[in-house]
């Protein structure tokens, strides 16, 4: 059955595969095509439809935690302003809550610690593929938003951070479904200790059903907005604007 004809055709097929590989390189120019990017909305819709908006992320037992919770992203903002705050153990740090709220707030770390607290042992999933499990504690974001009195026109919550990437302060955003989710915290401890500088001291976001780049560290300001168009370049987060990561990071 291996005839010369078949061998020739086989060789031709191999050449075709080679040409295909070259064409795959042509895929590169198609990477930011709107058709491909539409998958993000599809996944957001599908995941929320089948899991439910208030579904909880997996919680773990204390002995299931990672022995070492690695630091990722910014290890130290290292700006003069941040260093001054850190030198004073964040006694002068204030969390501003503003935008579309009826009562703009300026909260000290002590005030945040005196709010009703929630602790949870959850898994941090990096977009790169690794995971680490740790215990987080802090008030629910919902508690702070209700103190500030969020307006009906607000649709997204934006987090403005102290760390800088190439001169741009880090920022991230989530919608109100995730903002009011019971596991969404403003965490000030990791594994029962104050957040280290590497993990985002004094305050970071935990939005447990999304990937690591959504878990904004070094939060300075929380802003309620109606649209993400005026935030950064309009896609809702530093990595979304600069690298094309999906705004919805549930997958």
């Amino acid at each position: 059955m291996i005839t010369r004809r078949n061998l020739l055709v086989g060789t031709g097929a191999t050449l075709l595969v080679g040409t295909g590989a070259t064409l795959l390189a042509g895929c590169d120019s198609f990477t930011d095509n709107p058709a491909l990017l539409s998958a993000e909305d599809a996944h957001l819709f599908l995941q929320r439809s089948i899991t439910g908006r208030a579904a909880l992320a997996r919680q773990f037992r204390p002995e299931q935690r990672s022995p070492i919770f690695r630091v990722n992203g910014t290890a130290n903002p290292n700006t003069p302003e941040y260093n001054a705050l850190a030198a004073n153990r964040f006694a002068d740090w204030r969390l501003r809550v503003d935008g579309l709220v009826t009562r703009p707030l300026s909260l000290s770390l002590a005030q945040i610690q005196s709010l009703p607290q929630r602790a949870q042992i959850t898994r941090h999933d990096c977009v790169e593929g690794w995971s680490a499990i740790g215990k987080w504690q802090g008030p629910r974001l919902e508690t702070v938003l209700q103190l500030a009195g969020i307006r009906d026109t607000a649709r997204y919550i934006v987090f403005h951070c102290a760390d800088r990437f190439g001169g741009t302060p880090y920022y991230e955003s989530i919608d109100l479904i995730d903002a009011f989710h019971p596991q969404t915290l403003l965490a000030w401890t990791l594994n029962d200790a104050y957040l280290s500088v590497g993990h985002g001291a004094p305050l970071r976001l935990r939005v447990e059903r999304q990937l690591g780049y959504k878990q904004a560290k070094y939060i300075m300001r929380i802003e309620a907005v109606a649209s993400l168009a005026a935030v950064g370049a309009g896609k809702g987060g530093y990595w979304e604007d600069s690298n094309g990561y999906e705004w919805y990071a549930g997958i």
Binding site: M1, I2, N6, V9, G10, A13, V17, G20, A21, L24, A25, C27, D28, T31, D32, A35, L36, L37, S38, A39, E40, A42, H43, Q47, I50, T51, A55, L56, A57, R58, F60, Q64, R65, S66, P67, I68, R70, R123, D125, C126, V127, E128, G129, W130, S131, A132, I133, E208, R209, Q210, L211, W239, N243, G244, Y245, E246, A249, G250, I251
Partner: protein, 243 residues
């Protein structure tokens, strides 16, 4: 149907064209082929972002990895230059194509009885003698039962059924289990998110192996006839002149 005890019948000199693959089967084949040819290279690029695999719920740089590989080269990845964001665009789009494509195939295949008729594996096909006879026929590059050339041989059935009912569903389930927004029980089913990620990688390796064997056999069986059958549906039954 040839049974295990009969010798392989004398080949008959005969050329006839049969209608082998229905339109929906052909459509699904090519859409699925495209999806897999994009999902594997874009998945390798995602793997390149952290080329270590773990078992259990967690796993990062300080934890024990059961497999650590060098990064895959640019010719094997989409995009060809390092871009985790770009690879995710490709991977997450074609994951939907793969998932809903399989769903449509299963529904249509059960309704038009393609699955029951062409992929059903009978116990007698799995008897050692039957497998041995079929293996010998394979080694002699005779892939079709002369009495029923339309039918898939048992190795075809086993590999197609394995891909359609085991490998692709496993790839979809383990891929979803990696997603932080999915049902937590799905990751637990695999023994944790990092186990699901390992299973996803192993299943990808199985799919790549299938792809290599599948393409090799298409070339050995006569690529023009086989590819034409998958494009037009019409397939020329073997001439049976392989002495």
């Amino acid at each position: 149907m040839q049974t295990a005890m009969e010798p392989i019948p004398e080949p008959r000199i005969e050329r006839r064209t049969v209608y082998r693959h229905r339109l929906f089967t052909r459509l699904w084949h090519w859409i699925n082929a495209l999806a897999i040819l994009i999902l594997i290279p874009s998945g390798l690029m995602i793997f390149n972002a952290h080329p270590r695999l773990y078992w259990g719920h967690y796993g990062a740089n300080f934890d024990h990895a059961w497999l650590e590989l060098p990064r895959f080269p640019g010719w094997a990845t989409i995009p060809s230059h390092y871009s985790l964001a770009g690879a995710r665009h490709w991977h997450l789009f074609f994951a939907l194509v793969l998932g809903f494509g399989l769903l449509a195939y299963l529904i249509v295949g059960l309704i038009n009885r393609h699955i029951q008729r062409d992929l059903r594996i009978r116990t007698r096909d799995l008897a050692p003698r039957a497998l041995w006879t079929d293996l010998k026929a394979h080694l002699a590059l005779r892939f079709h039962d002369p009495h029923d050339p339309r039918a898939y041989n048992i190795f075809q059935k086993l590999s197609y059924a394995g891909v359609i009912f085991v490998l692709i569903p496993l790839l979809i389930a383990s891929g979803l289990a990696i997603s932080p927004g999915m049902w937590p029980w799905l990751a637990d089913l695999f023994g944790g998110r990092q186990s699901a990620r390992s299973v996803h990688f192993i299943a990808m390796a199985g799919m790549t192996l299938f792809l290599v064997v599948h393409l090799t056999l298409v070339i050995l069986a006569g690529p023009i006839n086989e590819v034409r059958a998958m494009i037009t549906g019409r397939w020329r039954a073997p001439e049976e002149d392989h002495s």
